[in-house]
């Protein structure tokens, strides 16, 4: 009897704490234009990557990455993986310990919350209803 009460109480407490956590956690307000990249990351046991566009455009014009380094204008559209990066392609063209910090600092890029989908944060597309054909299962 005592055990049953305790169990209910504890599960109740858990629900309470979850509700409180849900209310207290601030709404998502990440920077406009930042990317979440989770094509491979979580499947391979790492948190998703968050790429801050704003930080990079203070230092480089769009052309450097999007013309010279081959980054596509599409989140997840460039087929980047860690092998390409350590071979000096894509992010690895700068993140090599010479122009910018090197790839051993895994957690600076792989810093997203678990479960995020590949997306452009604040994208207008995200606010539009999907086409009817796409919304059907």
């Amino acid at each position: 009897m005592n055990h049953a009460i305790r169990k209910t109480g504890l599960s109740g407490l858990l629900v309470m704490l979850l509700t409180v956590w849900g209310l207290a956690s601030p709404p998502a307000r990440a920077e406009y234009g930042d990317l979440v990249l989770n094509e491979h990351a979580e499947k391979e046991g790492m948190p998703p990557v968050i790429f801050p566009h704003w930080f990079h455009r203070i230092r480089f014009r769009c052309k450097v990455c999007h013309a010279d380094l081959g980054f596509q204008f599409k989140a997840g559209g460039s087929g980047i993986n860690m092998l390409k990066i350590i071979d000096g392609k894509y992010c690895g063209a700068c993140h090599n310990g010479e122009i910018a910090w090197s790839v051993e600092n895994c957690n600076i890029c792989h810093s997203g919350k678990p479960g995020l989908k590949t997306q452009v944060i604040g994208s207008r597309l995200g606010t539009l209803a999907p086409p009817r054909a796409a919304s059907k299962p």
Partner: protein
């Protein structure tokens, strides 16, 4: 004794729950009182959302991640940049023009100068909106010709069908605008739709003046 100890813990937990309930009850009631007034000023206007939050509070970064502490808060970087009302709340074009930022045009050479083309393309639009004057100058400051031509825009007059629907769906101008470059909102229509209809260009004006003589 062994049976007594956990139940003590349970009582303490109950107290915590009660305290939390009390606090949230008070907060909730305060909110309800605010909502009760049916004639509240600007009834449907949403309150202003916070922006440029530090990474640990932006809802996307994991606040417990080891790397988050190393990330720069956007506000710190944007302090001296030209402000805007949309997007990052930074006017990137003006920040570049005024020299507040000096982004590299080449990965390795900090002194490389962009190949800038100063050519406006005027697109006469249907409907009542002013015509669009597309400035190559501001775009070539950031981008290379190959970024847009010929995949997104065929470099030929009249060859490109552009509509706001296509742009909002992420095509044409919408490949960048609405994702990273300034977004498409009611506050930004006139950034592109900037040329009053029927306004004559410099060439037409000069021609008219010449014919009068």
């Amino acid at each position: 004794m062994n049976v007594q100890m956990p139940s003590l813990k349970f009582i303490v937990l109950l107290f915590i729950v009660a305290a939390l309930l009390l606090v949230f009850g008070v907060v909730h009631q305060a909110g309800a009182a605010e909502r009760k007034n049916p004639n509240v000023f600007n009834r449907l206007l949403k309150p202003k959302k916070p922006f440029n939050l530090p990474p640990a509070k932006d809802g996307y970064h994991d606040p417990e991640g080891e790397g988050v502490a190393y990330l720069q808060p956007p506000k710190e970087a944007f302090k001296d940049l030209v402000p805007a009302k949309v997007g990052n709340h930074v006017d990137w074009v003006r920040s570049l023009e005024s020299g507040k930022i000096t982004p590299r045009y080449d990965r390795l050479d900090p002194k490389a100068k962009p190949i800038v083309m100063d050519l406006n393309i005027v697109r006469e639009v249907k409907g009542s909106m002013p015509d669009v004057a597309y400035p190559h100058k501001q775009h070539t400051e950031w981008l290379d010709c190959s970024n847009c031509h010929p995949a997104i825009f065929i470099p030929q007059k009249g060859a490109n069908q552009i509509s706001m629907a296509a742009i909002l769906m992420g095509q044409k101008c919408g490949v960048c605008h609405g994702k990273v470059a300034f977004p498409i909102t009611a506050k930004t229509c006139r950034k592109c739709h900037s040329r009053p209809k029927g306004r004559k260009g410099k060439k037409a004006k000069a021609k008219k003046a010449a014919s009068k003589k």
